[in-house]
């Protein structure tokens, strides 16, 4: 690695996520130890083989295209929909860099994480239908979806593929992932746990749960999906601790801030972080992106997100077109091959959507089923609902 340069006070003061992370990233080794790193430092850990590169591309494309499909049929979707547009390099890059057996705690903008892991899950038989089908069934809230209609959209959890659910208060992934990580450590399983939170969640009390991870030396990586917006509030309105990785200094954690739209950089840094985590030192990684969509499908974000910002990030930091250009420039794929790949994915999506549409809705009486694992409580709840014999 090259000799690291300390980040100066002046540089922190004038920190700009767009400008400052193009060729560099930040490493925090401890209090007052904040260094610049060159992305080239990561090259050793970046994937080189065509198969992996194409897998990353495909994962990002299917994530984007599946969500765009939902956007087009939003009227048929019960409730709302939440997209990770702009976040694909982060979600796919991280999941691809880690082992299938490592335990993820993804968020609503991390469907890419599921599309990556879903391939292995289907191959192993952990899930019986391709993940893309489950994705549409879940969005259409069908009886055969992971949540069986009891929760919708991206709140799914798929226990069969070790995919815990997320809940809407976003900081909550931290304590739960800490508990899971401690368990893996106790069991000496060799697994690590990785969880996601939003940039807004670094203001929550649950963020303090990272103290527990450090105190217990948990094999944990916590990723901040920093898309710079909490619904309609900017990050700058919420905190002066920018970049957010600075907050880890207080916990005595290793931390990084990286361009989250560069999948190769994210992938490589995650590989490095896994080693650190496995040694019993939890890691915080701020993966910086820009939300290229609304908070939800019905959020008219263009009315409040400055057009200049949106254009700038869309043009220069769209993770998918950026990666496609890179692959074309390096001769890995041709434009034609990309088009063929898109056609193939489109077909897969249409087929999955059709399958989901033809899937049954839950029946009214399903409302009362499976409220509690405990049979006495379950029966009692049915009685209280007037369903069972008293």
């Amino acid at each position: 690695m090259n000799v690291a340069l300390k980040v100066t006070r002046e540089e922190i003061k004038n920190f700009d996520y767009f400008r400052d992370l193009e060729h560099r990233f930040i490493e925090i080794r401890g209090p007052n130890q904040m260094y610049w790193r060159q992305k080239s430092d990561l090259e050793k850990f970046m994937p080189k083989d065509r198969e992996t590169l194409l897998f990353l591309l495909r994962s990002m494309m299917i994530t984007r295209m599946a969500e765009e499909k939902i956007e087009r049929i939003a009227g048929q979707v019960p409730g709302s929909a939440f997209f990770g547009k702009g976040n694909e390099a982060t979600s796919c890059g991280i999941a691809a860099a880690l082992n299938y057996d490592d335990l993820p705690f993804p968020l609503h903008r991390d469907a890419g994480c599921d599309f990556v892991r879903g391939v292995e899950a289907f191959k192993r038989g952990d899930i019986k239908v391709p993940l893309i089908k489950l994705f549409f069934a879940q969005y259409l809230s069908k009886a055969n979806s992971p949540c069986r209609g009891k929760d919708g959209n991206i709140h799914w959890g798929i226990p069969e593929m070790n995919r815990p659910p997320m809940i809407s208060p976003l900081g909550t992934n931290i304590p739960v992932s800490v508990g899971a990580a401690f368990f893996e450590k106790l069991r000496k399983s060799g697994r690590i746990v990785y969880g996601f939170i939003g940039d807004g969640a670094t203001q929550t009390g649950d963020f303090q749960g990272l103290n527990q991870a450090v105190a217990w030396n948990c094999p944990l990586i916590t990723f901040i999906d920093n898309n710079q917006w909490s619904f309609r509030t900017t990050l700058q309105e919420q905190t002066a601790a920018i970049p957010l990785s600075r907050k880890a200094e207080a916990f005595g954690m290793r931390a990084f801030t990286i361009d989250g739209t560069d999948i190769l950089a994210v992938y490589a840094l995650t590989k490095i972080a896994r080693k650190i985590a496995l040694s019993g030192n939890p890691v915080l990684i701020e993966s910086v992106t820009f939300r290229l969509a609304g908070h939800s499908v019905y959020d008219s974000y263009k009315e409040y997100v400055p057009a200049g910002d949106l254009e700038k990030w869309q043009k220069k930091r769209d993770p998918i077109s950026g990666f496609q250009n890179h692959l074309k420039e390096t001769g890995v794929v041709s434009e034609k091959e990309i088009e063929a790949l898109a056609d193939e994915i489109e077909k897969e999506i249409d087929e999955a959507l059709e399958w989901a549409k033809n899937s049954p809705d839950p029946k009214p009486q399903d409302l009362y089923a499976d409220v509690a694992a405990n049979p006495e409580l379950q029966k009692f709840i049915e009685i209280l609902c007037g369903r069972a014999e008293k």
């Binding site: 992971p146 909550t172 304590p175 499976d370 409580l377 009692f380 209280l384 007037g386 008293k390």
Partner: protein, 610 residues
């Protein structure tokens, strides 16, 4: 240094120790999490509940950061991977910091995502004496409305041990409410002091414990308040009230069957807890028992909650005593249900009919008196009527169509007269209907009567009934029979013979009995015994062409009286007089309506068959 724990705390500690061993032998990870749960020298946990465990199970009893949301979240993460987790909140009050994690994350995760979690959250709850508003809370209602959580609350060492084991050994998140006051209790009253067996036992979730059986009132309690409730039962016993005491143990699910059976027997329900009276467990419990479990019609008195006042938990001992419920409050609630303490005094006989037999007494008001003398009987009647007039009784009318009855009479009159000599009228039909409808459980208040307060000289203080003396499980019907005198110089009279056990008589026997009693009246052969113990009176004023009567309740032991107006074109008016202290307008209305339906839908009993 080994800690000497008192029974309740000791058995919780023992259950934890035993199940940690048990699951470790099965190679299942089991962990205890909490603030200060792992301290040296046996000082484990604020109440030493985990004492000795860190030494025996190194690395499995974990001190956590001071962040309840993290503690519970961490527990959820461990449980999700297959661990069994017991979490200690240092004080139940602090659970609010982890509330989001419980209600948003773990309560519904099985429903949403099919993930069962073995998490027991132990909550040291309740007042301990000037512990103030942040160390005294009762947390049950924070969780009651969150489907997917078990809520358990043991009161005895035996149940604490058995229920904690049951909770740890299943996969639904459990709110385990412990009582700090019980931690320090050196010994239990003998009714709650059960021997702890050496062998492994569990206490079933959802089953109550019958602490004491009784007949007059059901008291449902749990946790530390159970001891106060037991004290209340002892005081009530001295006052002659036999209370049944049920320790709920399991608050969600709760043992509705045990409570139903008890209330169906006693007709009265008190829920006693340290939780607040307003919006507390009892409020929800009574609503469910009344509505979902159908007890509404069985209540003889309004069910009551005995709980803490609806104020913040105070600090000063004087204020805290005022705030907390105790045994005396349980007694007061019971007394409210019964009126006051019940005295054994003989009821006043008020049968107006007996006046007939009394001799005429000459009065001498001194010289110049020109009053026409009246009989002692008439005087007594005047006294009784005036007294009863002051009794708050009101009237309701129902218009009844006797078309079906008329057909019965037309069809059967001749045959009945031939076979039995009975002249069939409307009266036996009405009496029969009254006897059947009145036996219905929901109308039992019409069969009840008060123990009245007797003022000097046997006068009744209607304003202060002491309680319900009896609810009769039979219907004796008083039938007013007018005795017309042939001699125009003599007054007409009235006798009120009683058809005993009318509810058991067949229709024909009823008609025969009424006819027989009327004969006796007219022949002057009615015995005093045959005028006693009526439950309700029927007076047929219609025979004089009167549209409707407005009866007065002459019998103290009768809560209702029915007058039957003239039946014209098959339609007649039934007027119900009722004691408004016992019977509200709704119940009277329902009774009249039921009676009307019974008569109008008379199904043509084969009157000659029975």
């Amino acid at each position: 240094m080994k800690m000497e724990l008192k029974p309740y705390a000791r058995e919780i500690n023992s259950a934890l120790r035993g199940d940690m061993r048990r699951f470790q032998e099965l190679s299942v990870e089991i962990l205890i999490l909490g603030e200060d749960v792992c301290r040296p020298a046996g000082k484990d946990g604020a109440f030493n509940i985990t004492s000795g465990l860190p030494e025996e199970f190194p690395g499995r009893v974990k001190n956590t950061i001071l962040n309840e949301s993290t503690i519970i979240g961490v527990g959820a993460g461990m449980a999700m991977r297959g661990a069994r987790v017991v979490i200690e909140m240092q004080f139940a009050d602090f659970v609010t910091d982890g509330y989001k994690m419980i209600v948003n994350y773990i309560a519904g995760i099985y429903y949403r995502n099919g993930i069962g979690l073995s998490i027991v959250i132990r909550l040291p709850s309740g007042a301990t004496g000037s512990a103030g508003p942040f160390h005294s809370t009762c947390p049950e209602m924070l969780f009651f409305r969150e489907p997917g959580l078990l809520i358990l609350s043991p009161a005895t060492p035996y149940d604490a041990k058995g229920l904690l084991r049951s909770a740890i050994r299943q996969d639904t998140p459990t709110i385990f409410i412990e009582w700090k006051r019980l931690y320090g209790m050196p010994e239990y009253p003998k009714e709650l002091d059960f021997e702890i067996p050496d062998e492994d036992y569990t206490v079933p979730i959802g089953k109550a414990r019958m602490v004491r059986t009784g007949n007059d009132i059901t008291i449902v309690s749990y946790g530390v308040m159970l001891l106060e409730a037991l004290g209340g039962c002892n005081i009530l016993r001295e006052k002659g009230i036999s209370a049944e005491l049920i320790d709920l143990r399991s608050l969600m699910p709760f043992d509705h069957e045990a409570v139903s059976a008890s209330v169906k027997k006693t007709g009265r329900l008190i829920v006693a807890h340290e939780d607040k009276e307003v919006g507390g467990y009892g409020a929800a419990f009574i609503q469910l028992m009344s509505q979902r479990f159908g007890l509404f019609d069985y209540f003889d008195a309004e069910p009551l909650v005995v709980g803490a006042k609806f104020t913040p938990h105070p600090h000063n001992p004087v204020l805290e005593r005022e705030y907390l419920p105790n045994a005396e409050d349980v007694v007061k609630a019971a007394e409210k249900m019964f009126g006051e303490k019940i005295y054994a005094v003989s009821p006043v006989s008020t049968s107006a009919g007996t006046a007939q037999a009394l001799p005429v007494e000459k009065v001498d008001d001194g010289p110049g008196s020109e009053l026409i003398p009246i009989s002692v009987g008439q005087k007594i009647i005047a006294e009784i009527l005036t007294r009863q007039w002051q009794r708050p009784h009101i009237h309701s009318d129902a218009e009844v169509n006797f078309r079906n009855i008329k057909i019965e009479i037309d069809l059967g009159k001749e045959k009945l007269a031939k076979e039995t000599g009975v002249n069939l009228t409307y009266t036996p039909f009405i009496a029969y209907a009254v006897s059947r409808v009145l036996m219905r459980k929901r109308f039992r208040k019409l069969r009840a009567y008060f123990e009245e307060t007797i003022k000097e000289k046997g006068k009744i203080d209607w304003a202060h009934p002491k309680g319900i003396k009896e609810i009769r499980d039979f219907v004796n019907i008083s039938i007013a029979v007018a005795i017309e005198s042939d001699d125009p110089e003599k007054d007409d009279g009235l006798l009120v013979p009683v058809v005993k056990n009318a509810h058991e008589l067949s229709f024909v026997d009823m008609a025969k009995k009424i006819s027989e009693l009327a004969e006796k009246c007219r022949g002057g052969k009615l015995l005093p015994d045959e005028q006693k113990d009526g439950v309700i009176t029927i007076t047929n004023v219609g025979i004089y062409g009167v549209l409707r009567g407005n009866p007065i309740l002459t019998e103290t032991k009768q809560m209702a009286s029915i007058a039957v107006g003239e039946i014209k074109k098959n339609v007649g008016i039934l007027t119900l007089a009722f004691d408004h202290r016992m019977i509200n307008g709704m119940l009277a209305g329902r009774f009249l309506q039921a009676l009307k339906e019974y008569l109008e839908n008379w199904e043509g009993i084969d009157i000659f068959k029975d």
